[in-house]
Symmetry: C2
Subunit: 368 residues, 2 copies
């Protein structure tokens, strides 16, 4: 690429340029090669903003290192395409710059999720007359604590920028559509006993022994598979922590089992916690952190059109993702993007380049 | 008491004087009122040494803040009377000096175990022609980490000073004889699983859930009562700790249950650990710290004479005590002393003064 003189700008822009006319694989590699570990996304946000500003059919807004570009064509429907531009840190021997090995592109971000960002930018550049109004959301800080999340910030401060009838999050799904996501809550199940010297346990009551009944219920628990909008969500209720005991010669008077309930998006936190209390009926149960999932909304017309146009498999999303942020705003949302999610964050993160090509083609079938 | 001029001595002696001619209750109060929290026993050791040195029938040895006094009358039998001279710390509003309330003496040490120390000093002063040769052991640092224990140090460095046919530890037993003590071992029972994201637990295996079977065995375990030398020891096997889990969204791959086995003195550590491994057959079990108990040895002639002379109840000792240090040297040993052990270390530590009188009278019946 030709070098560009740096503008007299107070921001420490690197001046790196993205060529949206390049093929999607080349563009993915270029985006990966602009390192953007969480909270260090400025150079990439600058490059994305600079690449979008010349496009006359888009209104571009910058908020921190989050960039929003929108058409305003008066279409009946508005679709949101969203992707985070940050990555987890590089490996010890840095897995950047990207390398092309046979039919795969290797390196940090090739799966999670700069292929999706490249597809978004290609659509933004190519589809000047989309069938639906489009909103492109390139946001920061998805890989770290949720309070830094650029999408979450916009949802609070400028929800009008997220408005739409349907949203697609271009997280890696191996080219399938993954609908909605499960909710998650943590709760503490507590047993209480009476402390005593462990040489005379009959003077006390062992709270850890009582926790055996809590674990027995967990082991016997049969998690349900719940169908929501045609997708089967596999629920899960598991211990993620246990602690008890204060000294090697004391019968413990307290034992705490922390459980994590991953629940289908047919229920909200209140209903999910009521279920957990029911499972541990007779024990003291307190609610910890919790966040609802998202219904896939695949029966809505906008979603059906998306599914029909793409013609790819449709699966439930097991983990919690940012689609829930759209769901909280009343916008049905799905995940769809290139890359095997099992390779996300891995040292050998890599993606068959055909998945980038296929994802771009699929969205073009829908939107062009 | 008359004030005494301080000697020109490099040790910071307080110059406090003990009058062994006073009655045992007065002497107990005087000993309590010389504060001697663990590692601060010098003033009391000085006073005890000074009180014993004038007694012609005793050879007195000082080792740190441990004082040993012995007769050498060529008797057929040698009896050891032992007591620690330290206490746990005072209460926030200091529970010293002692207070006499009705028939009880209140204050730190009145139970654990300065009444016993007073009885020892009275016997040392009064019984100049004992029926058996006598060794009096006044030792430091029983209430803290065992490596500071004065009796333990002497057992290592000068075992000849501990030699005897029978030992009586004047720890509080409410005036009964408590024989021997149980051994104690700790072991870790470990379950191992496979870590996974808690949204997809079927990709892993939950080690905490597996620990439920460990707790079920503990709950179902029926501890034995084992008779040794005529005393019934109540064994116990209890969890004293449990831990597992690394994060709120991770299926834990490790859970550790720490168990404490209190075992009758009919077995040693190896046999006790074999039993624990048997209980948790199929689980990974590792041995932690352990120490054998002590057989009461009540069938031996010296012990029988003691029991016959005293005519008080004989019970097993549930907890581990320093009698095990004598047992390790091949000397049968029992606990016998004034004070309710349930009041030891308590804010309201106190003892009926009649128990001091009775304990002194009982030992006089045996030794005079």
């Amino acid at each position: 690429m030709p070098s560009t003189p740096l503008p007299a700008d107070p921001t420490p822009a690197t001046g790196q340029v993205l060529d949206l006319g390049a093929d999607v694989t080349t563009l993915t590699a270029a985006i990966c090669d602009i390192e953007s570990v969480s909270q260090d996304e400025e150079a990439l946000a600058d490059a994305i903003e600079a690449a979008l500003l010349p496009l006359a059919h888009l209104d571009v807004t910058r908020d921190g290192n989050t960039v929003v570009a929108r058409t305003s064509l008066g279409r009946d429907e508005r679709v949101v395409l969203a992707g985070h531009i940050d990555t987890v840190p590089l490996t010890a021997v840095p897995n950047l710059p990207t390398r092309r090995v046979d039919d795969e592109l290797w390196g940090r971000g090739t799966v999670d999720m700069k292929g999706g960002v490249a597809v978004m930018l290609r659509i933004a550049a190519e589809v000047t007359e989309p069938s639906r109004d489009l909103t492109f959301l390139f946001y920061e800080c998805e890989e770290i604590d949720g309070r830094f999340n650029g999408l979450g910030r916009l949802a609070d401060t400028s929800p009008e920028l997220l408005a739409g009838d349907f949203a697609v999050l271009l997280e890696p799904t191996n080219g399938a559509i993954e609908g909605g996501c499960k909710g998650t809550l943590r709760a503490e199940v507590v047993t209480k006993g009476v402390a005593a010297h462990s040489a005379r346990p009959w003077k006390g009551h062992n709270a850890i022994h009582d926790a055996g009944a809590v674990l027995t219920r967990l082991t016997a628990y049969e998690a349900e598979t719940i169908t929501v909008d045609g997708l089967d969500y596999n629920e899960a209720l598991q211990a993620v922590g246990i602690s008890g005991g204060i000294a090697g010669n004391v019968i413990p008077d307290l034992c705490t089992v922390t459980v994590n309930y991953r629940y289908a998006p047919d229920k909200n936190v209140d209903e999910a916690f009521a279920h957990v209390r029911h499972v541990f009926d007779g024990f003291e149960v307190t609610l910890g952190d919790a966040v609802d999932g998202a219904r896939p909304g695949l029966l809505l017309p906008a979603a059906k059109a998306f599914i029909d146009a793409l013609g790819v498999p449709v699966n439930p999303k097991e983990g919690w993702t940012d689609v829930a942020r759209f769901s909280a705003l009343g916008i049905p949302a799905v995940n769809f993007g290139p890359g095997d999610p099992n390779l996300a964050h891995m040292d050998d993160e890599r993606c068959p380049v055909q998945q980038y090509v296929d994802a771009e083609a699929a969205l073009l079938r829908w939107l062009a």
